[in-house]
């Protein structure tokens, strides 16, 4: 179960990063959530041949990684792990869109390659932004922000429970798979029939665990709502963070500073 192990390690590590104390970690989760959302929408809203205008957007994750004291190498590794899916769908563009879009020397570059590069760029920026959000905020705090923003209480509780018990049940299923491995020494993976039975009994264990949890919760005075231990405080810094970055994104989105800078440089040198 090395795969399960590594998944749990990764989730746990993102949470460990979120427990740090930095200027970014101290920000209100709502500010970070909304800014990240604005960032993703802005990046994704570019047309499919746009590349240069996305470069300036890298400033947002970079600043958060540095000020939030996050390990850049680890995050990049995680981002690269996710990239294959974008590559898989995007790699068809060069074959389908052969219209030559630009010449560099004698090399002709088709629109498909340009849009493929654009897809990779989008993937990189959006995935990185999501990881940075979790690594500077933590899941429980994100849930708190969701509730304050107006997400139904039942859904927020669902997220909290899922997250809390994912670890517990992953260990439980890990034990069941180990037991299966000991009884099936030469097989690589479980067959469908035994897998269904294994899942079925895991489900039964799950429901009886849920019953015990509910009883324990009732003993502690549960009445249909979870009360957060942490309270949110919206300070001036949050307003500055949110409006500042959103303004910056808007400027980046509509002026393409990268192109302007490039023009300036190439004009100086030519």
């Amino acid at each position: 179960m090395s795969k399960t192990g590594s998944i749990i390690t990764n989730v746990g590590y993102l949470d460990a990063l979120a427990r740090q104390d930095s200027p970014i970690h101290q920000l209100d989760p709502r500010a970070k959530l909304l800014t990240t959302l604005a960032f993703i929408v802005m990046v994704v809203s570019f047309d499919k041949y746009q590349i240069s205008a996305m470069f300036p957007f890298a400033i947002f994750p970079i600043v958060l990684i540095v000020l939030g004291n996050l390990p850049a190498g680890y995050l990049m590794k995680r981002v690269l792990w996710v990239t294959p899916f974008a590559v898989l769908v995007g790699i068809f563009n060069p074959f389908l869109d052969r219209q030559v879009l630009l010449h560099i020397g004698s090399v002709e570059i088709s629109g498909g390659w340009v849009s493929f590069a654009s897809i990779l760029m989008r993937s990189l920026l959006t995935v990185l932004a999501a990881f940075v959000l979790v690594a500077t905020t933590g899941f429980n705090t994100i849930c708190l922000a969701l509730e304050k923003i107006g997400v139904p209480n039942i859904f927020v509780m669902q997220l909290l429970f899922l997250y809390r018990y994912a670890f517990v049940l992953a260990e439980e299923s890990g034990r069941m798979v180990r037991a299966w491995q000991l009884r099936a020494p030469l097989q690589k993976a479980i067959g469908i029939q035994s897998f269904s039975i294994l899942l079925g009994s895991l489900f039964l264990r799950t429901t009886s665990r849920a019953q015990r949890i509910y009883q324990a919760m009732c003993c502690r005075g549960f009445e249909g709502r979870l009360h957060p231990a942490k309270q949110l405080h919206w300070t001036m810094a949050n307003t500055i963070f949110l409006t500042g970055f959103c303004l910056l994104f808007t400027v980046f989105r509509f002026t393409n500073p990268a192109l302007l800078l490039g023009k300036l440089i190439t004009e100086i040198f030519s």
Binding site: I7, N10, Y13, Q20, T36, V43, V44, S45, D47, K48, Q50, S52, F55, I62, V66, N69, Y74, V82, A86, V89, N93, L101, S115, I119, R122, T126, A130, F131, L133, F139, P152, I154, F155, Q158, Y163, Y165, A166, L169, S173, A189, G191, I192, S196, L199, G200, L202, F203, T206, A210, Q211, Y214, E223, N256, A258, L259, L260, G262, L264, I265, T266
Partner: protein, 350 residues
Amino acid sequence: MHMADALISPAVGGAFWAASAGLIGYSCKKIKSELSDSKVPLMGVVGAFVFSAQMINFTIPGTGSSGHLGGGMILAILLGPWAGFIVMASILTVQALFFADGGILALGCNIFNMGFWTCFVMYPLVYKKIVRQHHSSQSKLFWGSMIAAVVGLQLGAFNVVLQTVLSGISELPFAGFLAAMQPIHLGIGIVEGFITAGVVAFVVKAQPQLLEITIPQADKSPVSIKLVAASLLIAAVITGGALSWFASGHPDGLEWSMFKTSGAEELDTPDNAVYDKSSGLQEMTAFLPDYGFKESEVAVAAEETAESWPAVSVGTTVSGLVGGLLTLALAFGIGFLLKFKRKIPSPAVS
């Protein structure tokens, strides 16, 4: 099966966010009105159950490759449609945040693709029609689960194709992508169907009374066909509305983005004040409907772009790349400067 942020347009992402958010809100209301508090931990822990089940690989007979579980249909059958949908949505949210399986903007699409069809279409219209009671015969249980899982996944895969093509970021043609996606997901769906049927049969056999507890009033408030039709209609209207809103005024319809690019970056822009102004205006209005602006100006700009479209200036493109790399270097520079000031090591991987 997960849509990624990199492949969708804000219009498509936003429309499905709205649709999924509406469905989550409605499901929460339903659960609140019909159930006791005890369902709360049950749903949460069952979500964790599917989550950890997805981590276990199993072999697919005859192929030697391994797959893992989707879970939408199992949840609908074991928890009922409302709770099943919420649990599926929560699983996808955690996947989006921690594994970047699908993106934050694409989350609405993913919840809709994997939750809506299984919980609100296949469960009431197929599974419930075949399996009237949980203690139905084994073969009914099997075929109900199998058909529901297979068709549910097909509809989800069809949605993925639709969303990808409507977004227009990928060049994949509708028919070609469809021809690839549906057969692949037919195979995955059959495997999913076997597992769904196997798990349900096991649970029913081992603890027949359990499903009566988890779905206490399932028959009292069945999902009405009206609701299904209404939510589909709303999604269609929102998508159509949002897309036409984006596309309106641009001659190329969905290709509005391409047109805009050619005006913005890749084209040889003449050093002409009027052109600059109109293309500037074009930039500004890309997010707005054109109704408020002079048609002729937009049309002229469109014509100009269309004509000079293949003729791309090397100069502009090179400066775009140079500028892009420079800004990236600048961004890293700022990063290093900030890093220089703060010298606290990040926690180590445990």
